[in-house]
Amino acid sequence: MEKLKDAFDFRDFSRAEQIGLIIFSIFLFLFPWLGAGSFVKAVMIQFLLFSLFGMGWNTIGGYGGQVELGKAQYVGIGAYTVALTMVWWNIPFWVSMPIGILLAVGYSFMIGYPLFRLKGHYFAIATICTSLVLQDIFANWKLVGAAKGIELPIHDHPDFLYMQFKSDTYYYYFIMVLFYVALFYMNWFRRSKLGYQLRMIKDDEDAAESLGIDIRWCKIKAYTIASAFVAVGGGFMAVYNLYIDPASVMDLDLSIKIALMAMLGGAGSLWGPIIGAAFLVPLDRFLGSWLGGHKGLVGLDFMIYAMLIMVVSAYQPRGIWGIIEQFRRKGS
């Protein structure tokens, strides 16, 4: 009970942040009734999905300070579990989703145990390696559709058990619920014992160890939590897109985007991943659709994207939230 109370307790934030959260929540809730087109709706769903991914990454990458660049493999595990069990045995989403989470958690333990012997660059590159290996395996494994991917069976009627709806609005509310579960969880997490331990590890590993914190075990726990978050998002992607292949759910670009959004917004803060996603998803989508129409401008959107990454890394590594806090401190 105490934990649950903590999750809904936003009192330690400033008044401006609390009001911001309320206005943002009202906007999210009313959004489908504001008469936005299907493209804008799709962008909003993407935004909520990437916020979910980013909040997951934030546990290990933000609070724990470990540069994790392999989250796409867990998106893949979540998505493939939902898709394959549905195609093979006709298992409903609500059963396969927990299985997907369990598989992701089990796999992340397996990988995490050797992985967290490593630090810094070695760790970052090793996470990329494991993700690429899994992608290679799925792209060549005929049983799971190889590089062609899998299509999910489409039902004639909307079906809640299989999460198949005609309108995007239902998907929107579903991902919104997931988003809030993640937000409340993270609000609890940042003040949990593990949350404080992780920040201690980020600041000074030796000091943390001398206080009796089991560093490796803490990191593995955070990594596992992050993987579970991401696997939920992967499962959602499978039922939402109705089609998955290794290039769309396991690619390195996806891992990068997840980590990047959290970092751009501000790693290690509750709002960071949400701000990052709110900034990058629309930029990505609108630039992509606008430039896609102009032949000969292919790649320009990613160049703008890349320049942004370089500027932020060079001038404010704490991201957009870091810039806001900087201004606030000057103001007061």
């Binding site: 390696c129 290996v133 060549n140 990047l260 160049m303 590594p317």
Partner: protein, 295 residues
């Protein structure tokens, strides 16, 4: 392809891999920064050779100095334009910074040249092969291997015998102590990036003789280079040489075994998966690499 054939081909590729990894290792050693854009430097070296040989109508081998020069300039420009600012921030910002550089160069190439796969058609070595006894070598690969070896030896000599090279080594062993001796860290960093860019530029020029040129070619080679650096050991020049050879051999010999047992999972698709796995296993069980001295 027989096993011995694969072994010889692997050695030639391995010499090239060693040259690619050399620059990455020097930068890693001197500055403790991982250059994700290293593969993109290689890609730019490849495009430089492709375009100069096509537009000036000269042999691709003669364009190597141009590729090296472009690489050196790119390295220096990256250092003064971006890396110097990243040094103030935390490690995560440094990683993302070079990652941004990688994306930028990749999509710049895509923007300028399109996503087409290009290959050099004309050249004195292209399409010719040398047969020694039962073995057949492509001249392009033979030249790439031997010239890589030559370039590697040159850099090795530079690092061990010249004053600047020794200063560079001193910086990589202990930055502070070196700066007390009057070695300017900033200048050494720039030199490391210049050498890194130059060597990988040459490697790109050599690779372009027999490999397709396309904007995303870099990722594969940067991963191979990471594996070589990890295998050889952080900061060890000798180590990266033997690691390059080992990875080259592994990548060529593995598919031969795969074709013997005829399995889905041992085919040529997986020759690079093996490289990634090797990296993972090596860093987990022997983080200092085979020849490393720094943990």
């Amino acid at each position: 392809m027989t096993l011995i054939d694969a072994l010889l081909q692997g050695i030639l590729m391995g010499l090239l891999f060693a040259l690619v990894a050399l620059g990455l290792n020097i930068i890693w050693g001197v500055m403790d920064i991982v250059n994700f854009a290293h593969g993109e430097f290689l890609m730019i070296g490849m495009y430089t050779t492709y375009w100069t040989s096509l537009l000036l109508d000269i042999d691709p081998l003669l364009t190597l100095p141009v590729a090296a020069l472009v690489g050196v300039l790119l390295g220096i420009a990256s250092y003064y334009g971006l890396i110097r600012y990243l040094l103030r921030g935390p490690a995560i910002a440094q990683l993302f910074g070079t990652f941004g550089l990688m994306l930028f160069l990749r999509y710049l190439a895509q923007f300028l040249f399109g996503i087409d796969y290009r290959i050099i058609q004309k050249g004195i070595l292209i399409g010719k092969s040398l047969s020694i006894g039962p073995f057949i070598f492509d001249w392009t690969k033979l030249a790439a291997g031997l010239l890589s070896l030559f370039a590697f030896a040159f850099v090795y000599y530079f690092l061990n015998k010249t004053k600047t090279g020794k200063a560079l080594k001193a910086t990589s062993i202990n930055k502070e102590a070196a700066s007390y001796m009057g070695i300017k860290t900033d200048k050494m960093n720039a030199i490391a990036w210049a050498i890194g860019g130059g060597t990988v530029g040459i490697a790109g020029g050599l690779l372009a003789n027999f490999y397709y040129v396309y904007p995303t070619v870099g990722l594969l080679f940067v991963m191979i280079a990471f594996a070589c650096v990890a295998l050889g050991g952080f900061g060890s020049i000798k180590g990266v040489f033997f690691a390059g050879l080992l990875v080259g051999i592994l990548e060529m010999v593995f598919p031969v075994f795969g074709s013997l047992v005829n399995s889905d999972f041992l085919g040529p698709h997986f020759k690079f998966t093996i490289v990634y796995l090797t990296y993972f296993i090596i860093v987990v069980f022997r983080p200092q690499g085979l020849f490393g001295w720094k943990n």
